[in-house]
Amino acid sequence: MAITFEKVNFSYGAGTTLAHAILHDVTVNMPSGQVTAIVGQTGSGKSTLVQHINGLLKPTQGRVVVDDFELTARTKEKQLMQLRQKVGIVFQFPENQLFANSVLEDVMYAPLNFGADKVAAQAAAETALRRVGVAEALWQKSPFELSGGQMRRVAMAGTLASDPSVVVLDEPAAGLDPKGQAELLQLVLELKSLGKTVVFISHHMDHVVAVADQVVVMHDGRVVAKDTPAVLFNRDLDWFKKMKLDLPKAGQFAEKLTAAGMKLPERPLTLTQLATAINTEVGHE
């Protein structure tokens, strides 16, 4: 399902003296079935942007179109249910949303809300729990007895259980160990292979390079760039400084090599690319 933002403006407290503009004239589209990463420094409006995708926030001006659903300032609260069924959002530290007596019950919450009966909801919950890798032995336990990493998985299953066509992840890797991060990226790719549109916010450029088809860069409430990772991360170094963005680790290392006098054809984005570039360069001499 494609997501399109058309001239979206958003401000908190619109119409009052305390109005505070967050998004300015955002026009961007996130293609169906692809992984779109949203990057930008803290306070650039990333979270505000994604909260428009399922109508938690409504644009003050402009419109957001998700598949055939149009969200504007006038969209009624009742219609949003339909949108939220299509779009699942996993928030930062989603383990804070757990509430039920058992893991299974918690994950069944979303499908039940969206009208599934008990049997269907349980089946959906089981599928989701398997997908995120929560062992069956834990399903009847209280979610509060689990470890932090397991709680995170259960919470993610809680969003995936309603089988949304669009999955939005707001810094899902924050606070995970390297193994957990790798598994998370695997999950993103798996969701993509299931045909889902994935939008994810990240500060971690290596994660972006690993899974994203498109990168949207936000700065001061505006979309300042949208490119494939390969094109974006080959921009001028000064631009990254201005946007307060990092390069992927391999790119940072390559910059050091360049500064030390080594010539590389283009900026490598992954360790493999870096190794190849160095080998080619060293082989030349």
Binding site: G13, R84, Q85, I89, N96, Q97, Y109, N113, F114, T159
Partner: protein, 266 residues
Amino acid sequence: MNNIMIGRFVPGDSFIHRLDPRTKMIGTFLYILVMLWANSWASYAWTAIFVLGLIRLTGQPFKLYWDGLKPIFWLILFTVVLQLAFTPGTPVLYRLGPVVITTPGLINAIYVMIRFVLIILMSTILTLTTPPTSIANALEMLLGPLKKIKVPVAELALMLSIALRFVPLLMDETQKIMNAQKSRGMGFSTGGPVKRAKAIIPLLIPLFVGALQRALDLANAMEVRGFRDAVQRTKYRVLHYEKNDGLAFAGLFVFVVVFVVTKRLF
């Protein structure tokens, strides 16, 4: 969530802002105490004029105070209806089964409403112009004498300032959890009261769990920094009365005198 006004502090540099928090606190309590003695239109009018004058002095738009009143609108309405419906007396204005509306009932209802509104306005003046920490500080100093009879005043003040500090945090947390559950399809609860109460469980449980977790974290953080209770502490900000406070007390005195006059004469 951002529009909840109870206890919100709005910085400023008005006469009221600059008063010592103790002055404001004593003034608020005195005012409320005196106001409860009002029994005539004239005395209510005077107490209302006094509060409106103070609001002018704070230099804040009246809308802020109005927003402070809104959350308790239903409470006011409820009390007013109770007064209206269940005050006996004559003459009877209207009768519907057991419900009898009488003239004294009507007057009582209006008095109660005025009292409610004035008390809220007055306490909003206090909280709107005084940072929460100053309120806690003032309370500690005002209750200081109670230490002699072993009341843990310092601890109570600390509890108060921690509680006040947690209000915006918990608001924030509530908003986040609400967003998460809305995304999972938490909708408008329809149905009976039991069903509705059940519908907010997904909101309350995470909120309680989060609050307890925060409290434990804070307790640990305080402990590793060597916090102990029941020790004499010095203050970073020492409160002292200034000339303006003298003026304020004089103003309060005038208020009380005029109040007594209105009560006696009208």
